[in-house]
Amino acid sequence: MTATEARTSPGPGTRRPLRAGPPAKARLRRAATPWLFLAPALLLFLYFKFIPMVQAVRMSFEEVRPFLGNTYVGGANYAEIAGSSDFGAAVWHTVVLAVATTAGSIVLGLALALLLEGQTRSLWFVRSAIFLPVVTAMAVVAEVWRVMYYPAEGGALNSVLSVFGLGPSEFLNSPDSSLASIAFVGVWRGAPYDMMIFLAGLAGVDRMLYEASAVDGASRFRRIWHVTLPGLRPVFAILLTLAAIRGLRIFTEVFLLTNGGPDGSTEVLLTLTYKLGLERNELGVAAAGTVLLFLVLLVLTVASRLRRREAR
């Protein structure tokens, strides 16, 4: 954006050109240029995102039988999914997971960022090491955690617990601890990502404020509370929005770790949708579920944008 501005308006002195304005053709070309550059991506989005999205909305009002032809059923799919107790439980689990993962990731991410802020070369290495979970494929992460969560004495985490005289815990295998176990994996994976964004935010906090507060005799904790956190406000806004969206869309972790079990204790919106659509072959009802999820995400996104605009 800045590059374009620099090219079209070379400086404040030459702002007003000698001619009354460029000819219509040139103006059109200028308007068309960005769209031409965007066209390949937009076409792909259109074909692979927007058209399927619209079709999903249509499917949500139909009994889907692709070969025989779909039949319109009105709001029956919505009534079925919203009325089922599975859906209510799935919404609840999704929200719990989203809140727990988000809160845990932000707290841990901030702590890591405060610890690892700085320019030293060794810090760079440690930061990269801590960032590794984020770039590792979720399928691999889930498989590793499944092994670590092995619910008997020989398991990796249970061996650690037994050192402290605890366990063995059932972890993923008991309805009481399964959701927490998944949230823990989420935090383990999400915290380094948040840490990176916090680090970027910390770089923008004015150093002078730290020095001034130190001169005033503020303790380390008070400096964090009164200088760092207010300085990071925009970062929190971004992280919370991202985390809310990511949290509600949670699928891979749950699918690979428990697939909604045991006893439906970790069923989230998307695993439920997957089961309805691809295991029970009720694509219309599944589509209704995803449309509901889409609406929630839309409302959340718009609300957060409006809030940010107001704040500005």
């Binding site: 954006m1 692709p66 070969f67 619910p151 045991p262 089961k275 072959n281």
Partner: protein
């Protein structure tokens, strides 16, 4: 970002939105259903099988297809569509209204394929060599309406793989009843049968996950042997039977395996079959109910001498072992219906069945031959396969021919998973609730009998 830059964006967004809607509307109107395709007897066939590309099984299917072309002169191309995303790929082709000509897939998918209108009806008597095919295999090709919608290709029954060395170590005989089997599994769990001094063995290896209804699939044999059932025929249709006394008793025994004697392996309630295969072959599990297709793998990983194949013992309801298989489905809208039928007939013929046994390359796509003139165990020279064949012949039982069995299987597995994960749950009450859900599902499928 300045206000000036932002201003025109709204207009452009509206433009893009209009374009999206226009294109969508165009694609929407382009889709309309077609009738019977024009027939051309020389049109090449596209054959799909649910096997991973490059696997020995896919090679066998390729050999089968080549032999068919040689025999009939009809060109045919085999596509091995991966095990995990077979349904998704088929859905994609369905959406394009351009189905493959032949699909070789699970018998359990029949109801769904029929409901979706994806398969053609098959005239059982019109299939060459029809009388040579086992009745039980034909039964698995029959839809809810009593008509046939596939030609049998492969069948299988399940048997217990028992660690022979462990059984001898704990000094027990071959179990003849379910009680003896349970006792044996307790010994396997508690008596350190592998003698390593650690309490790390499990008597029973159970895929207790709800994924693809695994728990239902595993539990069927135990439930049916005990005289119970998920659904049973009533009047013109079916009704839930999982809350009847015999069923509840069987489910209580299942719950005890997880909660009381704790013979099920750790993590059983979330384990899918890939986890249980690994668990058994790593030498930690004692008894595993599974299909004959696992023999080559376990012979390699565990050792042929370490385990034995025995028939699941009879229970109060007699002997009843889950039988499954694959059918050759003649897909709708094909441009070469004669070719489709010829392919199905060849696949079920003695020649086709022998190729499918995969004796040379280990790619087993025919586990137990559906053609009664082929003796699979003799061809394989392995008596353990004879055990599987006997189980199939004598006590094999197909899943009920519902319009959508997979939905019932899924619901049941969730209900069962509930009682094995939460040990305090009352089985009778939980099964009552499950029965209500099953009845509602049957009602929805139009298969509820009064």
């Amino acid at each position: 970002m300045s206000k000036q830059l932002r201003k025109p964006r709204g207009g452009r967004q509206a433009g893009v939105l209009a374009a999206v809607l226009a294109v969508t509307a165009a694609t929407a109107t382009a889709c309309s259903s077609g009738g019977t395709a024009r027939q051309d007897d020389s049109r090449p066939l596209e054959v799909w099988i649910r096997q991973d590309a490059g696997s020995p099984a896919a090679e066998s299917a390729e050999a089968l297809t080549k032999a068919f072309t040689k025999e009939s002169g009809i060109e045919a191309k085999l596509v091995a569509v991966g095990v995990t995303d077979f349904e998704t790929k088929l859905q994609q082709r369905t959406a394009q209204k351009d189905l493959p000509d032949i699909v070789i897939n699970d018998t359990g998918q029949l109801g769904n394929l029929v409901t979706q209108g994806l398969v053609r009806e098959v005239d059982r008597d019109g299939v060459a060599g029809s009388a040579d095919l086992a009745d039980r295999a034909w039964e698995a090709a029959r839809g809810y309406d009593g008509k046939y919608y596939g030609v049998p290709f492969n069948s299988q029954a399940f048997a217990l793989l028992v660690r022979k060395d462990w059984r001898e170590a704990v000094g027990a005989g071959v179990p003849r009843t379910w009680d003896e089997l349970t006792e044996l599994s307790v010994k396997f769990t508690e008596d350190d049968p592998d003698g390593n001094g650690k309490n790390d063995t499990a008597g029973m290896v159970i895929p207790g996950s709800t994924t693809r209804g695994y728990l239902t699939w595993w539990f069927s044999t135990m439930l049916w042997s005990g005289g119970g059932d998920f659904v049973k025929e009533r009047g013109e249709g079916y009704a839930a039977a999982i809350d009847e006394p015999a069923s509840v008793e069987a489910v209580e025994k299942l719950q005890a395996m997880f909660c009381d004697s704790e013979v099920a392996q750790p993590g059983a309630s979330t384990a899918d079959s890939s986890a249980t295969h690994t668990f058994f072959e790593s030498g930690k599990g004692g008894i595993y109910l599974t299909g004959p297709y696992m023999l080559p793998r376990f012979d390699g990983s565990l050792g042929k001498d370490k385990y034995e194949v025995i028939a699941p013992p009879p229970g109060a309801g007699g002997e009843a072992v889950l039988a499954e298989g694959e059918n050759v489905y003649l897909m709708a809208g094909s441009g070469n219906e004669k070719g489709q039928q010829a392919y199905a007939e060849f696949a079920a013929s003695p020649a086709g069945q022998r190729i499918g046994l995969g004796i040379d390359n280990g790619g087993i796509i025919v586990r137990l031959p559906v053609n009664t003139t082929v003796d699979g165990a003799a061809e394989r020279k392995d008596p353990r396969w004879e055990t599987f064949q006997e189980i199939y012949n004598e006590s094999g039982r197909n899943a009920p021919a519902l319009p959508n069995w997979s939905a019932v299987r899924q619901l049941s597995s969730e209900g069962l998973n509930g009682v094995v994960s939460t040990c305090s749950r009352d089985v009778g009450k939980a099964m009552g609730e499950l029965a209500d859900e099953l009845d509602a599902e049957l009602e929805k499928q139009g298969a509820k009998g009064e």
